[in-house]
């Protein structure tokens, strides 16, 4: 059976509210139950999403194409994993919340991601700037809350404020950009805009380009593209780890779907479209370099992941810049799928290790291979995939991106790619080195892993290899074009 597509969001929304209600009426149940409820609910949604097919939505501002469905799946999966992490992370949360009971504030912590997930799902279907703006803000605001969630933890709050101000700034630019696009084209709907653009008078091209660039800036902020990435390392480091994962996967992927739609829409007017592409190429170059180079000297694993997420944004932008090629969208999709798996996997391991360790510096992973080989292997796979070793998902992504870049003759980016991949090998393997070469720290105790996390890790490791060895699985995620 199939619903009208809009129902998925509503279901997720209802799920979030259900958790809130349970939270407010429950007395002494273990709040982790709620997370499990959320996971189950989202799993059901995922199943239905899997079953659902592209089709007309009956609304002008809301579209259900294969891309939308794919990205909805991505965010739902992400949210599931984030909830799993949150369960492992709950103790840390409690420590930093002022609470009478030991349960205080947990229910909301599980509910907010679900609501955010709903926002992201809306975002991935939005093709009207108004809807885009609103859902974008929904996501952003809930992230304000989540990032700053640990009130007793100065770092978390500082991250919150930084995210708040900078994000609001980028919102300002986005809105101003939308204004100009609207002003020139008289439209807020991307499809309409695509139709109208070729007919706009020559004098207005700067105006619409100006608007498009400002929108690009706003989205660049969301996907952590240089030079709008400065919030990323600080916020990633300060925020609760599950939220960091959520930020780096969820909000980045929806940012990319919107970016793709916008850039695509503007291709109808080459004079503007080509310059927009140039802009994207510039951003891609800056992002590649910044993310990968600045990661080289990192010693904090969470920050390292932040820089790596910047770097990967660079590769993704390469693919976006190749939008002229037939399968650039496909490249983005596959890369994001791979990125989702490997990033979430590393964050999951990070949460588990740092929950039983001293902190989240790389040195805290020393000798992990001896302490608990399973976790070490999981992280090894994640790192291999992030670095782009063949037969892992990460390689397939890089392969597609480079293919697209070569097809569209972006030799500058390819050249940078050579350098950055080298750097990538260096700083990802630094973690591997810590786990496998270094002797373990004082406490050799094996780290306990909950059933749920164990299952998650196994599944993700398997998926990474499956995607890497059988590309058709990944390519099936979204048909070409």
């Amino acid at each position: 059976m199939t619903f009208p597509p809009i129902f998925f969001e509503l279901f997720v929304l209802a799920l979030g509210m259900l958790i809130l209600l349970l939270e407010s009426f429950s007395v002494k149940e273990d709040r982790k139950i709620f997370a499990v409820i959320g996971i189950i609910g989202l799993a059901i949604v995922f199943v239905f999403l899997q079953a659902s097919a592209p089709g007309p939505s009956g609304m002008a501002s809301y579209v259900v194409d294969s891309a939308a469905i794919f990205f909805k799946k991505v965010v739902v999966l992400t949210t599931i994993v984030v909830l799993i992490m949150s369960i492992d992370y709950a103790d840390t949360i409690r420590r930093f919340l002022p609470g009478g009971s030991s349960q205080s504030g947990l229910g909301e912590f599980f509910a907010l991601p679900v609501l955010t997930c709903a926002g992201m799902m809306w975002m991935s279907s939005a093709i009207d700037f108004i809807l885009i703006f609103v859902s974008l803000e929904l996501v952003t605001i809930s992230f304000y809350v989540l990032v700053a969630y640990m009130r007793r933890n100065a770092a978390s709050l500082e991250a919150g404020v930084k995210y708040l101000i900078l994000s609001a700034l980028s919102t300002g630019f986005t809105v101003y950009g939308i204004t100009w696009i609207y002003g020139v084209t008289r439209q807020t709907n991307l499809i309409e805009i695509e139709h109208v653009l070729p007919s706009i008078p020559l004098d207005n091209q700067p105006g619409v380009l100006f608007g498009a660039l400002l929108v690009l800036v706003g989205l660049g902020f969301k996907i952590a593209a240089a030079p709008f990435q400065f919030w990323v390392p600080d916020v990633y480091q300060g925020a609760p780890t599950p939220i960091t994962a959520f930020l780096s996967v969820g909000s980045k992927s929806v940012g990319f779907i919107v970016l793709l739609r916008v850039v695509q829409a503007f291709q109808s007017l080459p004079a503007v479209g080509d310059r927009l592409i140039t802009a994207v190429i510039l951003l891609a170059a800056a992002t590649l370099l910044y993310g990968n180079l600045a990661a080289l000297p990192q010693t904090n694993f969470k920050r390292l992941l932040a820089y790596s997420s910047i770097g990967h944004a660079g590769y993704l932008l390469m693919a976006v810049a190749g939008i002229g090629a037939l399968d650039s969208g496909q490249a983005v999709v596959v890369y994001l799928a791979a990125y989702l798996l490997m990033t979430l996997l590393s964050f999951l391991v990070l949460v588990i290790v740092s929950a039983h360790g001293e902190g989240d510096d790389i040195v805290h992973f020393n000798g992990l291979a001896k302490r608990s080989p399973f976790l070490a292997f999981g992280l090894l796979v994640a790192m291999m995939s992030l670095a782009g070793v063949p037969l892992t998902a990460g390689f397939l992504g890089k392969f597609l991106v480079f293919k697209v870049a070569f097809e569209t003759r972006q030799f500058l980016l390819l050249g940078l790619g050579i350098i950055t991949v080298g750097c990538g090998f260096y700083f990802y393997l630094k973690v591997v080195k810590a786990m496998y070469w270094q002797p373990p720290a004082v406490n050799l105790a094996a780290i306990p892993v909950s059933k749920l996390s164990l299952a998650a890790i196994v599944i993700m490791v398997l998926l990474i290899f499956v995607l890497g060895i059988f590309p058709q699985v990944a390519l099936g995620l979204m048909p070409t074009g």
């Binding site: 404020v161 930084k162 101000i165 900078l166 700034l169 980028s170 630019f173 700067p206 380009l209 100006f210 660039l213 400002l214 690009l216 800036v217 902020f221 240089a226 030079p227 709008f228 400065f230 919030w231 390392p233 600080d234 310059r275 927009l276 140039t278 802009a279 510039l282 951003l283 370099l289 910044y290 990968n292 180079l293 600045a294 990661a295 080289l296 000297p297 350098i419 080298g422 750097c423």
Partner: protein, 596 residues
Amino acid sequence: MNLSPWIILFAPFVSAVVIVLITERFKKLSSYISVAAVAISFVFSVAVFFGQDGTASFNWIDLGTFQVKIGYLINDLTRLMLLIVTGVGLLIHIYSIGYMADDRGRSRYFCGLSLFMFSMLGIVLANNFIMMFIFWELVGFSSYLLIGHWFYRPAPPAAANKAFLANRLGDFGFMLGILLVWSASGTVTFDELRGQWSTLGLSPGFMTAAALLIFCGAIGKSAQFPLHVWLPDAMEGPTPVSALIHAATMVAAGVFMLVRTYFLFEPSSTALGVVLWIGLITSLLAALMATQQDDIKRVLAYSTLSQLGLMIAAVGLGAPQAGMFHLFTHASFKALLFLGAGSVIHSLHNEQNIWQMGGLQKKMPVTFWTFLIGTLALIACPPFAGFWSKDDILASADRNIPAFLAIAAVTYLTAFYMSRLFVVAFLGQPRSEQAGHAHESPSVMTVPLILLSIPACIAGFPFIASLFIKVPEHEGSPIGSMAVSLIAFAAGAASGYYLYKEKTKDSIQIPLFEHKFYIDEMYGSLIKWTQDLLANISGFVDRWVIDGTVVRGLGGITWGAGFALRFLQVGNLQAYAFLFGAGVVLLLYFILFGTK
């Protein structure tokens, strides 16, 4: 097809393999196996000697357009060489049983010998350049093994390396020559080349170059100047080895090769001239050095050098037959001399300094007499073998006065230092107590001496020699040359005898000769200042420039860039806002106004 050449070739190979794989532990057995193998080869060589010419081959490598063949070519030259190699080889094998009786590494030794026989026979039988080159290399290898037999002493390994490297140097030229010949003619088979070479219409310069490069092989293998330095050192090996490899057969391979490929040299007078003078220079230098050596084996070694020089010179004179003739006689009496020396050294417990010998006439009669015969043969005393062959060479030089004089001088010097050697080593009073307790060697060693002295006596007579080899009958005045050589011989022998009679120490001191014209030292510094210097430079460059500076430098720059970039991340909110705005403005400017 005719199997016997293959049997001749592979019998020693089989023995070598068997020794390595199976009988390594049973030393006596190994030695017998090896001897048996040579005996087989010898028997079949005799058979081949009376058989008729022939050639056959199979493809070792077949790439359609390009084949490498392994095959044999039998003609008079092959027959003679086969006989020499297997015959002398057989005797020396037998001799070795006695000489090496109490050596730990006997199996290794005999394995080496068999391997050598295999390789040497391969050279002799080869019907094309590549096959010859293959066995050429193998010969070098086996000589390396045998020279380095006593690896636990300091000197032999050094000598072995020197020998191998010198040969490799020669082979570098040899291979280059082969490649040139092939790239010009498209074939490496002797028969085909003999037919085509002069008809290819190649530029004379090219032909000369090719011939001389081929000659390089001979220079290396036959220890001609300037690569002669390895042969004297090679005396560090066991004496039978010196006899077999470094006197009778291997060093003669160079000459053999020249004769085999004479057709390459014929068209180019320049090439022949070079060959001639290389030969003569070697011969003279060696003779001069020999006059001041005190080690019995080294004296023989230098005399070998100078005799080889004569043979080469003979080829250069356009009389390859004379060269072969001398090779034939020389093989017998030089082997005889070495074995004699060997038996002396053996009974004097490895005493090699002739000034520690003396008065051996009574104690070791057989050795004494046979050595005398050998000496007489070598110094061209009529009617011994050496007289005839050397006279042929002299005679073939009668048009070329300088060469003629040089050869005469060599004859004189030979007579001089050999008589010196003989007088000092055998006559007079014992000058050490080993010499006092010397005793005749066992029969297994003396019998070969006797057998070898027979050809040393008679092989020269034309009617006997002609059985084996086409003795060149030269027009002009044989009498003249004969007279000269007689005079030279007489003078040399006399002066040697009277100068050293009853002496206890050398009365003449000529450091230049004693130190072999300081050629070793020169080479030492040459290598030091060219190869080692370059090596160290490139080692340094590789370590510190390419790797240290460029590679590490790039890595460092990248890392440094990352380190610097981090400082944009100052943690101050307004700094971020500023950078954000700056980014926006730059982007806007570049895209809106920068690009068209």
